[in-house]
């Protein structure tokens, strides 16, 4: 059983709450007491159906009270998969929240109201999904019940988005269009009786069928050392293991390895996971690796395969950034750059351009990047970092910028 992370974004009116509620309800992820509460709340509102949007209603109430809700996490599962929805409400600080919420997602759900078609948010969401290299985007044309389930309406919306999709997408990204009605459960987990003309999968069907683990396991092997395990007990007197979570690729016992940035080489003696010894481990596995020789490795070092001649070591590079803080990014300032678990100082030498993700245009000669703005920067780090170009290997190509004085996470960057 694996986990699939989904990002949703948008305003309450586009039927997102109902869609999420519907997914929870139809996968049997809601306890009886919550359904009973829904039933009575729906009745109180004079509705003759179950208002599933009320399941996430607490969030709306919080918003009315003026509490910032940036990302809420919602969970449901099927017998084969656990799903985590990172839901970002569409109001102020939109871009920042969308980027934060979607950073772990492998699927992006974009809702389009069948009556309205594409809006500005659709474009922003598509661009951000592309910037984050989210491998699958499902554009749900919702509220089909309000357009009499007409195939022509669905096809028109699809056609109107084709150009935008072409502009934003990258090679390998799967994009699909689905006509749905969250309110009446059409095409969510069961085929839409009302839309016999649609021959594609249901939403849940698409989610269940989507595979991405293989891609990660075949990316270049990267093992950032998190913690050195040295028990120094009688039983494990000379034990020296390197603990970490493999960020991409696969490692096998016997593999010749190189440590970055020191360049020392050795061979993998064992790969351990608690009491069991493994023959290999892949992206996402938290393991302890021991080497055949005693070399000096500390936290923040990255283990790669020795066969990879040009594993990256970056000091001067450019990156796309999304600014997350109220205090703007200004060139010349020094920040702490955290790449994975490794921290080094970084100086932003220049803001090359600012990007308008909706209009798909760039402005050069800008002197600051404000909250929610996306741009391209040139930077230099004190120590080299073992980061890949984000587009080539997303799980090892992102970093965060931390303000040295406030300790806040102020920006996120993608190596270019």
């Amino acid at each position: 059983m694996d986990i699939l992370r989904i990002a949703t974004a948008g305003s309450v009116d586009d039927g997102k709450s109902t869609l999420i509620g519907r997914l929870l309800y139809e996968t049997n992820s809601i306890t009886k007491d919550k359904i009973e509460a829904l039933e009575s709340a729906s009745k109180r509102k004079g509705l003759d159906f179950l208002d599933l949007s009320l399941l996430t209603d607490g969030l709306i109430a919080e918003r009315e009270q003026g509490i910032t809700i940036d990302v809420a996490h919602i969970y449901f599962s099927t017998p084969s998969r656990k799903y985590i929805i990172a839901d970002t409400p569409g109001h102020v600080e939109y871009t920042r929240n969308m980027v934060t919420g979607a950073s772990n997602a492998k699927v992006s759900l974009i809702l389009v109201d069948a009556r309205q078609g594409m809006v500005e948010q659709t474009a922003r969401h598509l661009s951000i999904a592309a910037m984050l290299r989210i491998p699958k985007v499902i554009i749900c044309v919702n509220k089909m019940d309000l357009v009499q389930y007409q195939e022509s309406t669905f096809e028109e919306i699809k056609a109107s988005l084709t150009e935008l999709v072409k502009q934003t997408t990258f090679e390998g990204q799967e994009i699909s269009f689905l006509p749905i009605s969250s309110l009446y459960g059409q095409n969510i987990t069961t085929k839409a009786e009302q839309m016999p003309w649609f021959t594609g999968n249901t939403l849940l069907g698409e989610l269940e069928a989507f595979e991405y683990a293989e891609t990660l396991a075949h990316a270049p092997a990267r093992f950032p050392v998190q913690f050195v395990v040295r028990p120094m007990t009688e039983a494990y007197h000379d034990f020296r293991g390197y603990a970490g979570k493999i960020s991409s690729g696969t490692f096998q016992v016997g593999d010749a390895i190189r440590v970055l940035p020191t360049g020392q080489e050795s061979t993998i003696a064992t790969i351990e996971k608690f009491e069991s010894k493994l023959s290999h481990a892949k992206a996402g596995d938290s393991v302890v690796i021991t080497l055949s020789t005693d070399i000096d490795i500390s936290r923040g070092n990255t283990i790669v395969l020795a066969s990879e001649a040009n594993a990256p070591q970056l000091k001067d590079f450019s990156a796309q950034v999304c600014w997350l803080d109220h205090q703007a990014l200004t060139p010349g300032k020094t920040y702490l750059l955290q790449h994975g678990i490794n921290i080094t100082k970084a100086k932003i030498s220049q803001i090359t351009e600012r990007l308008d993700v909706v209009a798909q245009t760039a402005t050069e000669g800008v002197d600051s990047l404000k909250l929610n703005e996306i741009g391209r920067i040139a930077l230099r780090t004190a120590q080299p970092i073992s980061a890949d170009v984000y587009a080539n290997n997303p799980s090892n190509g992102a970093f965060i910028l931390i303000d040295e004085f406030s300790n806040s996470t102020v920006g996120v960057g993608f190596v270019q």
Binding site: V229, T233, K245
Partner: protein
Amino acid sequence: MNKLNDKIGHFPRQLEDESIYIMREVAAQFERPALLFSGGKDSITLVRLAQKAFYPGKIPFPLVHIDTGHNFPETIEFRDWLAKETGAELIVRYVQDSIDQGKAKEESGKYASRNVLQTVTLLDTIEEFKFDACIGGARRDEEKARAKERIFSVRDDFGQWDAKRQRPELFDMLNGRIAVGENVRVFPISNWTELDVWNYIKEENMEIPSIYFSHKRQVIERDGMLWADSEHLNKEADEIPFEATVRFRTVGDMTCTAAVASEATEIDVIIEEILSAEISERGARIDDKRSEAAMEKRKQQGYF
């Protein structure tokens, strides 16, 4: 629609990998971390994860238990056994001491509990040992406020959480940098659901306190729910203890944890009961409608 029982026994291993990663970040980023141990299934899961994260080394931080004095004796017994079993250092501090020092005041009335008072003792303990990170077993599926709390949650001098000032958490990068006086609460099982925890306990064959399983116990009925009779419970004249077959779904203080009537002595049956549960884990305990349902169920099972 998925059948409920199809979900039993399916634990997504990726969750364990992610939580172990968080445990290791805590040990690496902080000077004096601690694991807050309550004796409940969530904190037992944390101990298991910590054990795995540093194996074959020992857990590099102490288990800290804030003892309200109202714990189930079974929980205390289990706590001491687990500390011994894992070789972890155990620190216990007592709410009673905070009360004796005049820092906390015992509640009165029939709903009196020491649940709130724990915070005083906890903050004092953090101060005493200069803990800079406290690992807790909260999960985001428990309630709506939790659903948006970070994995590394920065607290000020007074242990307060400011929802508006949370740091964005991107990818799996955890920023634990803090100023002097601040500390961080860490929630490694944020993304686990109650079902995930139970499936994990089952898959790992983990020991849990006996009160999670069905047993006979003296209880009283209050607000349509069953409460363990004990010297700590302020009973009213008409609240007469009787014997019932029950188990506990969460393990807190004896004064604020209600029992459910259950015959479940095996973990599979417990998981099945959870899946078809009438009340969600944190379900408000004073909800009238819910109490009616609970009452009805007990009557069906022949208690009255």
